[in-house]
């Protein structure tokens, strides 16, 4: 079974949602990334999402855009990101690592080479934000041949037939985008998200993760009641940005924040009247 599969199985037994935390590879500088990955795991992240820097991050809000720009100053490319994952894997063999980014760097490397190198490095899943499953047949086949999951996004605007189609093609889990907007936007509507996620779960055998706009332990705890994973990105990256390159401060503030999120997802679900 894949690392993602094992993780979700374990957490089903523990009856809690997974905490997935995101950083952009190479932010604030390339040499820090592997250490920050380890710190997040030690603080309680169940899986990691590593952003591949891109010059034109169309689906990202200002916080992750700036993280990408900081990484690009150092020329961090997709090959460097794969090396960081391989480095992380030398000490950490269980925690799933997902790459999140845009298609073009993968396109330029070539699907087969990318799939091979990702698997060799120890990548478990890939999210390419701007590649809907209709266009992904070849990439999916290449990743599948190397045991790497294709994780697709579902949005508030996704109609039910598409939800089914996407769930059929995805593996690992599906990623529900909790709002209309870019990463880090601040207008999440909890009851709308809950309604959508519950509908998706009826149609989808895969675990459903929720991300975009989760910025506090409170929101994380709410989401963890009904989601199989919660994904926190901009709120983590903002803490890196605020430290202005001071690694000591980053270590401290990531540890504190991730621990508080972990605590939030571990709260036993309160007895909530089932929504009719």
């Amino acid at each position: 079974m894949s690392r993602l599969g094992l993780m979700f199985e374990r957490l089903r037994n523990e009856q809690r949602a997974a905490l997935i935390s995101y950083i952009t590879a190479g932010d604030p500088r390339p040499a820090a990334t592997v250490e920050l990955m380890r710190i997040m795991v030690e603080a309680g992240a169940d899986a990691l999402e590593l952003g591949v820097p891109f010059s034109d991050p169309m689906a990202d809000g200002p916080v992750i855009q700036r993280a990408s720009e900081r990484a690009l100053v150092h020329g961090v490319g997709i090959g460097d990101v794969l090396k960081m994952v391989a480095e992380f894997r030398k000490q950490q063999t269980d925690v799933p690592v997902i790459l999140m980014g845009y298609l073009n760097p993968v396109e330029v490397m070539g699907y087969r080479i990318f799939a091979q190198r990702a698997a060799d490095a120890g990548v478990d899943g890939v999210i390419t934000v701007d590649m809907p499953p209709e266009e992904a047949t070849e990439l999916r086949a290449a990743l599948n041949a190397h045991g790497v999951d294709s994780i697709y996004l579902l949005a508030p605007t996704t109609v039910p037939e598409r939800v089914r189609m996407i769930c059929d093609r995805a593996s690992g889990f599906v990623y529900y985008v909790s709002l209309r907007g870019v990463t880090g936007a601040g207008h999440i509507d909890l009851s709308e998200v809950e309604g959508h996620v519950r509908e998706i779960k009826q149609q989808c055998k895969l675990p459903v993760g929720v991300g975009f706009g989760i910025d506090s332990p409170q929101v994380a705890a709410e989401m963890a009641r009904f989601a199989d994973a919660i994904i926190v990105g901009s709120a983590v990256v903002r803490r890196i940005e605020q430290a202005e390159g001071d690694l000591q401060q980053i270590r401290g503030s990531l540890t504190e924040f991730i621990s508080s999120l972990r605590e939030a997802v571990e709260k036993k679900p309160q007895v909530v009247a089932a929504t009719p």
Partner: protein, 405 residues
């Protein structure tokens, strides 16, 4: 006049928007539904006589079509070769071909019940053309423009504001057209329920490349009739500048089935293709995915998009419409590039010989047409798309001459 009546074997794109390996739909999931809605609406209205009649009436009475096909006699004599005709898109309302597209898309927006219009702009011509039709329809309008371009094109920025649009300065990335597009996509994803995105060129996710082409094809249809009336024959060559490629596709499309009509798309070579300070994605790019489509792209070995350069803001874009990529691959059209200096010479030549100030974008086409005409005989005919007028560029040219106005 119906825009659906193209009788030719050429049948691109396919139903998911592919032109061979190019095109397609590469966007975040949130935009899949609005794109599907747009596609359905477009397919319905393309066959709706009432919609087409309204569009034709707007093109005639508001835009001022048909635009003349003008025989440039002194320019022809100057180059001493083929007979040069100019398709006068510069005489349209707002001064460029861009309005052909915006009058069509705003009618779609209206029928879809969208009250808020967004657009990206580089030189400002598409922004002005969008702000113009939004004002006419009484719709809210937000234009995204790179901070760099806002400085270069101050007059167009002010025109958009006069027309009631909000102009948002984009400070991210290279602060030019590509970044304005990113920001417009971010807006669309956020305000998807009430907002219609009017893309200004034959690029982006399907159906934009096909839809904008069909709306701009009026240029080529008129040219065909006009040249047959004037010369009793089809032209030997068509020449148009290519940034995203909308004016070029508009001219080329109705001639694609006429294999004897050569087509030349002229890209911006900036300071020269070997200098890397250029915007010639077809001549010097590789295949990549950006802004919703697969096509030729100026990118580095990591797949990062490269910053471009051209004297003309409207050509300063690292990508190009997928249909041009396909016309290049299939050999149906040829793509060449001319430098800033050559384009300027094209600008001065037309100004002095014909009393017409061309846009710097169109000056690229004029510069290449001059070279081409010299090689052809005096019995041959070249049509150049004069896609816009040069008033907006007077400042840039004065600065280059060391004059402050």
């Amino acid at each position: 006049m119906a825009i659906s009546s193209q009788a030719m074997a050429y049948n691109f794109p396919d139903e998911r928007g592919h032109f061979g390996p190019h095109g397609g739909i590469f966007v975040a999931e949130t935009l899949m539904r609005p794109l599907a809605e747009l596609r359905e609406a477009y397919e319905v209205f393309l066959k709706d006589p009432e919609f087409l009649a309204e569009l034709d009436a707007d093109l005639q009475h508001y835009v001022g079509r048909p635009s003349p096909l003008y025989f440039a006699e002194r320019l022809t004599r100057h180059y001493g070769g083929a007979r040069i005709y100019l398709k006068r898109e510069d005489l349209n309302h707002t001064g460029a071909h861009k309005v052909n597209n915006t009058v069509g898309q705003i009618l779609l927006a209206q029928r879809l019940g969208k009250r808020r219009i967004i657009a990206e702009t580089g030189a400002g011509q598409h922004g002005v053309a969008t702000a113009t039709v939004a004002a006419r329809m009484g719709l809210e309008c937000v234009i995204y423009m790179g901070a760099e371009d806002i400085q270069r094109q101050a007059i167009n920025v002010y025109r958009m504001k006069l027309l009631g649009a909000e102009v948002v300065s984009v400070e991210s990335g290279s602060r030019t057209l590509k970044d304005a597009l990113n920001e417009a996509l971010r807006d669309w994803v956020t305000n998807v329920d009430n907002t219609f995105y009017i893309i200004g060129t034959v690029a982006g996710p399907h159906p934009y490349p096909a839809m904008v082409r069909d709306l701009q094809a009026v240029i080529g249809r008129e040219t065909r009739e006009q040249i047959l009336a004037a010369e009793k024959r089809l032209p030997d060559a068509l020449v148009a500048c290519v940034g995203g490629g909308s004016n070029a596709i508009g001219l080329f499309y109705p001639f694609i089935g006429d294999s004897k009509v050569a087509m030349y798309g002229v890209e911006a070579a900036g300071e020269g293709i070997s200098t890397h300070h250029h915007a010639a994605s077809l001549c010097a790019g590789k295949i990549g995915v950006l802004h919703g489509q697969r096509s030729y792209l100026l990118e580095d070995e990591n797949g990062q998009v490269i910053e471009t350069h051209s004297i003309s803001a409207g050509l300063d874009y690292p990508g190009v419409g997928p249909e041009h990529a396909w016309l290049k691959d299939s050999g149906r059209a040829r793509y060449v590039a001319v430098t800033d200096d050559e384009a300027l010479e094209g600008f001065y030549t037309l100004t002095r010989k014909e009393g017409i100030l061309p846009a710097l974008e169109s000056s690229h086409a004029l510069a290449y047409a001059g070279k081409l005409a010299k090689k052809l005989g005096s019995e041959q005919v070249v049509v150049v798309n004069l896609s816009g007028r040069g008033d907006k560029d007077v400042h840039t040219i004065a600065t280059r001459e060391g004059i402050s106005i």
